[in-house]
């Protein structure tokens, strides 16, 4: 990935808080439905899976279909009870994986 994924989540929270997390990844999400100017189908190439883990435990994940818009945006929530690290993973059709991490301090 040329561009780093972008993340929006609080750096600090109180124990038991449900926090909002937003992520954005630059990606064309080529649907496999389009044809080029010679009439040939442009092969599908999308992010087909996104996961969010906290300290190694699954928080939220999603499978994505070609109906997800380019530059996939995800907004979801997490209940935090301890300090730790969120890990985000995007999996491409070509098998490549993009990851990002963010720490949060829970008081």
């Amino acid at each position: 990935m040329a561009e780093k994924p972008r993340l929006k989540l609080p750096k600090e929270a109180k124990k038991g808080d449900v926090i909002e997390i937003k992520t954005l990844l630059a990606h064309t999400m080529e649907s496999g439905q389009r044809k080029d100017k010679d009439g040939k189908t442009i092969p599908r190439k999308i992010i087909n899976k996104f996961t969010c883990e906290f300290n190694g435990k699954p928080v939220f994940s999603t499978t994505l279909e070609p109906a997800i818009a380019a530059n996939p945006y995800m907004q979801f929530y997490a209940k935090v009870t301890e300090s730790g690290t969120f890990k985000f993973t995007w999996t491409d059709d070509d098998g490549s994986v993009t990851t990002a991490e963010e720490k949060i301090t829970v008081a």
Binding site: K8, K22, L24, Y73, Q75
Partner: protein, 562 residues
């Protein structure tokens, strides 16, 4: 709830006296006085003043209200979908009265000659000052519902600055918007920064992080009452107008956001919640029934002028007209966080009756000065009434379509169903100002292209659904696209895809062939990169060549399912 309607009695006596036919201008005028127009028995401790949809009009105007304004679904036959004689009957207004002239299409040409132009921001300023002085400025909120900065030559050339400068003297407490956004993001932001009052829009989010892009609400304290004013911009601005002009903003009705903001306002101690809305009347009527806790919706966008407040459950809906013709005064008695009573009056600003405010008149002269020569330049003469409002036709649009057909050598012309645009009386000169009052937009290019009959039908069906979808949340609030060289039948009770039939190529009298291509000219395409001359140039050239314009009644649209 105490309700007392301030009947628009002005001119009622006059009407009774006109049976003999001696209905002269002087005679009409002497029955109207400023004191009578503004007479109001105050109630409670809060006064809301509302203006909306001024569309760049600083001067008094002629504006003919619609003959046809059909409602569908639950809105069928309900105000504002009542016109003409039915309107007069519904609201107890005498024929030929000043109120009949201001509020309906009835006897328009004759009454226009008697009662003169209505509006003018200097007259509005007089009224606002007087209400603030008499009531106490600490009890009055002045709210502007938007579509203020667009719709005239001056506002288009100054990119809204003329309206902003004049409104600054009027000192509204808040505004929202729609056409404002067609000046583009940078310009809108720059103008808002200099307003000195908030531009409220709870229903706009940024397209990147989906976060609120504008101030959603503002708390005021007036007459000892904590008032929350929530702003709702036109939800379909990027659909009805070019999205490429505002790519970073996403709109929508966002009922959930309205509800959340109402709850937030109540939690913050609001005793009165006011939605300053540009949704359009039918959308607001549905919203009022679904979102609890809104005391007043100041409606806009659909240009309806109603002499009574319409109650939906505990919510009052106010419709203050357009083009600066009216200002609404709503007095509210609020106690214990609830509205105990109200008194309402829709005040028509008869320009010959209300004395202009000198300070505002000077500002109007100043902002118009750079364009003065253009504004007054006479292009031709009207031999019949030119007007726009109506669901299907307007004579000004017929004129525009005729100009498009001739000047772009097309078989069919399409002109957008905008609801703004002033009227020109028969016998009057048509000035450059008049032409711009019907055409002044920031994407005025006239395209010329080929379209199949099938595609033409799709366009008509699509626009018809924006107007006649029985669910108001799926309506956009404009009128039907105006057609030149093309006739059709419409059954407004049918679903999308089945409303339009009998499409006819008027020149040949033959049915439109779905597969055949027709040459089409039109303007106001929402697509980036549309090429062609500005529409006002074509219309000006056409009128100049015609010299005198006479538009015959348009009978090419057959309506059913009403």
């Amino acid at each position: 709830m105490i309700t007392r309607r301030e009947v628009l009695q002005v001119g009622a006596a006059t009407a009774a006296l006109t049976a003999g036919g001696a209905f002269t201008r002087a005679f009409a005028q002497q029955r109207l006085t400023e004191a009578e127009l503004l007479r109001f028995d105050p109630l409670g401790t809060v006064t809301l003043l509302h203006v909306t949809d001024m569309h760049g009009q600083l001067m008094p105007v002629y504006f003919r209200e619609p003959t046809v304004n059909l409602g569908v679904g639950e809105a069928k036959g309900q105000p504002p979908h009542v016109t003409g004689k039915d309107f007069l009957k519904r609201f107890g207004i005498p024929e030929k009265s000043a109120a009949a002239y201001a509020l309906t299409d009835q006897d328009f040409e004759a009454l226009a000659k008697s009662y003169g132009r209505i509006g003018g921001i200097d007259r509005l300023a007089s009224v606002v000052k007087r209400v603030r002085a008499e009531r106490g400025a600490d009890k009055v909120l002045l709210l502007d519902g938007g579509d203020t900065w667009q719709g005239s030559l001056g506002s288009n050339r100054s990119k809204g600055q003329d309206m902003v400068d004049c409104m600054a003297l009027l000192k509204p407490d808040a505004m929202t918007g729609h056409w404002e956004f067609t000046y583009g993001e940078a310009r809108v932001k720059a103008l808002i920064d200099g307003l000195g009052f908030p531009f409220l829009a709870l229903n706009i989010r940024d397209t990147e992080w989906n976060e609120p892009a504008f101030e959603p609400m503002k708390m005021f304290e007036k007459g000892g009452v904590k008032i929350a004013v929530l702003g709702q911009a036109f939800p379909y601005t990027p659909v009805a107008n070019p999205r490429w002009m505002m790519p970073k903003w996403s709109f929508g009705i966002r009922e959930e956001d309205v509800r959340a903001n109402v709850e937030k306002a109540r939690k913050a101690g609001a005793q009165l919640v006011v939605l300053l809305s540009h949704n359009g009347f039918d959308v607001d009527r549905k919203l009022a029934a679904r979102v609890a806790g809104i005391d007043v919706i100041l409606t806009g966008h659909t240009h309806d002028a109603l002499p009574e407040a319409i109650a939906v459950g505990k919510t009052l809906l106010i419709a203050s007209g357009s083009h600066g013709k009216f200002v609404s005064r709503l007095d509210l008695d609020v106690a214990g966080g609830a509205v105990k009573g109200y008194r309402y009056k829709l005040i028509p600003l008869f320009s010959d009756v209300i004395a202009p405010d000198a300070e505002m008149a000077a500002m109007v002269a100043k902002v118009r000065a750079p364009f003065a020569a253009d504004l007054k330049r006479e292009v031709g003469r009207a031999d019949s009434l030119l007007y726009r409002r109506g669901n299907f036709n307007g004579t000004f649009d017929d004129l525009i379509c005729a100009a498009l057909l001739k000047e772009r050598d097309a078989e069919i012309a399409l002109s957008p169903g905008f609801r703004w645009g002033t009227s020109v009386l028969p016998g009057q000169p048509i000035t450059v100002e008049d032409i711009h009052n019907a055409t002044a937009i920031t994407y005025p290019q006239v395209y010329r292209t080929a379209m199949t009959g099938e595609r033409l039908k799709e366009v008509l069906e699509d626009v018809a659904d924006n107007l006649f979808n029985p669910d108001p949340y799926y309506q956009q609030g404009g009128d039907m696209v105006r057609c030149g060289g093309l006739g059709y039948s419409i059954d407004i009770s049918k679903p999308i895809g089945s409303r339009i039939s009998g499409m006819t190529h008027l020149k040949s009298g033959k049915p439109i062939d779905a597969k055949k291509e027709y040459t089409v000219a039109g303007w106001a395409s929402v697509n980036e990169g549309t090429e062609g001359p500005p529409v006002w140039n074509l219309v000006e050239r056409y009128i100049a060549a015609e010299k005198t314009v006479r538009v015959t009644p348009n009978t090419s649209v057959k309506i059913s399912g009403v």
